[in-house]
Amino acid sequence: MGEILQYTWGAIVSFVLAFFVGITYMGLSRIVTARVQNRIGPPWYQNFFDVFKLFSKDTSIHHGIMHHMGPAFMMVTAVMSLLIIPIFNGGSFFTNLNFHGDLIFLIYIMVFGPLGMALGAGQTGNPNSAIGVTRGLSQIVGFEIPWVMALVALMIQYKTTSIVDLMNIQAETGKWLMFTSPFAFIAAVLAMLGMFRYAPFDIVGAPQELASGPMSENGGKYLFVMMSSGAVFAFAKLTLYVDIFMGGANNLIILVVKTFILYMIPVLYGIVSPRYRTEQSVRFFWGWPTLFGLLAILQAAFL
């Protein structure tokens, strides 16, 4: 019983932390985008207003049970990956489920939510949703390949599939894996561009073409859960990158600095990019990123 309470408590604290950091990042990225476009932009806390406004709004319609459950599926992915990924080094925080799953489990739980939400978007009957979903799924097939190649390279180089072990290796040797496995890092970062769905990979929910795609027909509490799961999931993904490539973090400040630097990669790349068509973006991921992934595997296997 005590164990369950501890897990629940850990989940709540991690969730709240991820929620605040994730939403703040969203706000900051809006400011950065605005400054690049020579605008002033909203204040950094604007997204908190947005998200609480959505929560306080009444939602009066739904299109059926899958539509109703879709955002909950998305939340499962966000919170589960947050619980699997260690937030700080050396177990100085709640260990949550860090020792219960490994990288392969994480890869699969990370697609659980998008697929569940895709079902929810499908039931709304809005053709834009379904079109967005087919584009999103195609893009997943694109960027998962370099992403998995990078992870497989790490796994075979260090003979472990556990995230905690990868962090311990970095702590012991004092070298970040982004320097010892540079190709894996490059492949993973390129895959990250697709994961965060900023331009040029934002065809999935392109507002001008698809009326925000899978998100259309969602408002109020549904959009609230989706938005907060997006924030939590973004934080979890960034923490994962920090954990396996950048030596993890010992305290919150280091974590925030490292994740923010990482987060700026897709944001800044996105601001100056046009939008790819789906097949262009899929082909992009099967091109250079996959080549870097291949180099990473070769390096891990033979060096």
Binding site: Y7, H63, L115, P127, A130, V141, G142, E144, T161, A211
Partner: protein
């Protein structure tokens, strides 16, 4: 009388009774059919023990039948799936023609599959193999559509496989003077090197045809999709596993003894991976649900073949686990397609749409089966996929693991297409009348789907017999260091503890579901899928906004280059070349007496001219 004989007598007698009682009454036929399947199952598990063998001699050949743990494991798939499919068939086949014929072949193919699993000698193995081919062939051509294309493709490839197997059997018999399989295995290391390579290749050819491995898969999409769905679930779920069964035996008992067997295993592992990739890509491009599932079966069998070919403990465990799981989810999916076919009259994604509220139970069964197929935790598919990946990584197959991963990621696309095409999307007036399928159809698929859920948390239920089956093939016990009831380990000692993960997933899901449901519960109401805003307008009732044509067009554009050439075109070219050859021979043997007279004359002239050289 030995119990094994009685089992076969029950099945054959039941099949005949079913066939002849068809003339008397439909009810009697159904009763006999169901009783036979149930009796066979009960009899098999109650009276036939692992290790039972019976030897007898027939026409001067020493034959042997018996059951070992490995065969017993596969009997779980055969009997489990067949029993459920039998119940399903009663409702699915109601009102169709020539039911005696169908049920007879259904029962005979169960008999032949059990026969294959219990054959301890090569002759009965071959005979049962042929019975299996023929009984399934008769069901493939049952509906009488496109017999030329579907039936001939299937039977030609099966015949090629059968000839290969027969050649191998003859080769083995001339070298060992015995037809008992265990004799073949013990004397295999003493074969000549050429024979050591040829015998397994010939056997594997036969097994690859049934397991639909590239490039011998050409028959499968048509054959799977044209059988009645009640049988397709058995066809794809259990019958194809007989190919896997044979492959495992060949790989473990023969290939492993080859002095340098690595390249052989690599080739087969890669063939499995290519099968998986191509099967998946073709499945994504299908608009016919039966075809989609058929291609998906080919792809899933590709994973299993890869696991078998790698052959480490973990890989073999994953192959055996996936074999059972594929039976579960593909059985359920074929049944779901059958239910939709029966209720709506079509299985085309571009026609039927929005069935979720009309056929909720079929939807739930399909959803669970699809999640298992995609390998998403917390369902059973994840366990099999996890073990396969880890075994590939642990055994240094780095590029292979990426290939497999690509196939299973691309599988998400057709998974979504299946669910969206049938159940989600716009609810059109055309399908308003559709009702849920009868309970006799829904319950079997629900049982199969729930099986995948249970195995997701407690894979030990199936891994235990799989482990025993592997021990009977000479593997070391793996319980405790590779798996326990709900924990998975890889060879580096990393682990996945399924129980807490599944509870956490369920807990988080329920929490947010309750949050979503409770907030604003009273003011919430359901609105139809026509009550949406699209391009700033609310569509009219009769406006069809369903998005289903060219569903994954952008992806197909990206993946197009690899799909330009189809295997079947090569076979067709080959067929044309053979045609030309035969045309040419017909010019020589043109049936004209005058021409033949000239041939004789020419021959004599040549003889006379060369007389001195030849006979001088």
């Amino acid at each position: 009388m030995n119990m094994i004989f009685i089992l076969f007598a029950v099945l054959l007698g039941g099949a005949l009774l079913t066939f002849f009682s068809n003339k008397v009454s439909g009810l009697l036929r159904d009763i006999f059919f169901l009783l036979t399947v149930l009796a066979a199952g009960v009899f098999f598990y109650l009276f036939i023990k692992k290790g039972d063998t019976v030897s007898f001699s027939l026409a001067g050949l020493n034959l042997q039948w018996g059951l070992n743990a490995f065969g017993w494991y596969f009997s779980l798939i055969v009997l489990g799936l067949s029993t459920l499919a039998a119940f399903y068939a009663l409702a699915y086949m109601r009102g169709k023609e020539r039911l005696g014929y169908f049920y007879f072949n259904f029962l005979v193919s169960i008999l032949s599959m059990l026969g294959i699993l219990m054959s301890r000698d090569l002759v009965s193995f071959f005979v049962f193999w042929e019975i299996m081919t023929w009984s399934s062939y008769f069901i493939v051509i049952y509906n009488g559509k496109n017999v030329q294309r579907n039936g001939i493709n299937y039977i030609i490839f099966s015949t090629i496989g059968a000839y290969a197997m027969l050649t191998a059997i003859v080769l083995v018999y001339t070298n060992t003077d015995s037809l008992i399989i265990s004799d073949m295995i013990t004397s295999y290391p003493q074969f000549t090197p050429v024979l050591q390579i040829f015998v397994p290749i010939l056997f594997l050819m036969a097994f690859s045809v049934k397991a639909a491995m590239m490039p011998l898969h050409v028959w499968a999409p048509d054959a799977y999709s044209n059988s009645p769905m009640a049988y397709s679930s058995v066809f794809s779920g259990a019958l194809s596993k007989m190919g896997i069964y044979g492959m495992i035996i060949v790989f473990v008992t023969m290939i492993s003894y080859l002095p340098d067997s690595t390249w052989f295993k690599e080739i087969f592992a890669w063939l499995g991976a290519i099968t998986a990739i191509m099967g998946t890509l073709w499945a994504v491009s299908q608009d016919d649900a039966r075809k989609l599932l058929a291609y998906s079966s080919i792809a899933q069998l590709g994973y299993i073949i890869t696991g078998v070919a790698i052959g480490t403990e973990l890989a073999m465990l994953s192959a055996l686990f996936l074999a059972v799981l594929h039976g579960l989810f593909k059985g359920a999916l074929f049944m779901a397609v059958g239910a939709i076919e029966r209720q709506t009259g079509t299985v085309n994604f571009t026609e039927v749409t929005g069935l979720i509220r009309k056929m909720p139970w079929t939807f739930i069964a399909s959803l669970l089966a699809i999640i298992a197929l995609a390998g998403i935790p917390p369902l059973g598919g994840f366990v099999g996929k996890w073990m396969l990946y880890e075994s590939l990584i642990n055994s240094n197959h780095y590029i292979l693991v990426i290939a497999i991963f690509f196939a299973s990621t691309a599988a998400f696309l057709y998974c979504y297409k299946f669910l969206f095409g049938f159940f989600l999307g716009q609810e059109e007036k055309e399908w308003e009348h559709v009702k849920e399928a009868p309970a006799l159809m829904v319950v079997p698929m629900m049982i199969l789907a729930i099986g995948t859920v249970v195995l997701g948390t407690f894979p030990g239920i199936i891994l235990k017999p799989a482990d025993i089956a592997m021990q009977s093939l000479g593997y070391a016990p793996t319980e405790g260091h590779l798996w326990s009831m709900s924990v998975l380990f890889n060879e580096w000692g990393d682990q996945v503890l399924l129980k807490p993960l599944v509870y956490a997933i369920a807990g988080i899901f329920l929490f947010f579901l309750i949050l979503l449901t409770v907030k604003g519960w009273k003011t919430m109401r359901y609105v139809t899928t026509k009550d949406i805003s699209s391009s700033g307008e609310v569509p009219l009732e009769d406006e069809n906004l369903t998005f289903s044509i060219n569903f994954f067009q952008p992806f197909m554009r990206a993946a197009g280059p690899v799909m330009k050439k189809r295997m079947i075109t090569y076979y067709r070219e080959f067929g044309k070349a053979i045609d030309i050859l035969f045309d040419f021979t017909r010019r020589i043997y043109n049936g004209n007496g005058q021409t033949y007279a000239i041939y004789v004359m020419i021959f004599l002239v040549i003889l006379l001219l060369l007389k001195n050289n030849l006979f001088g």
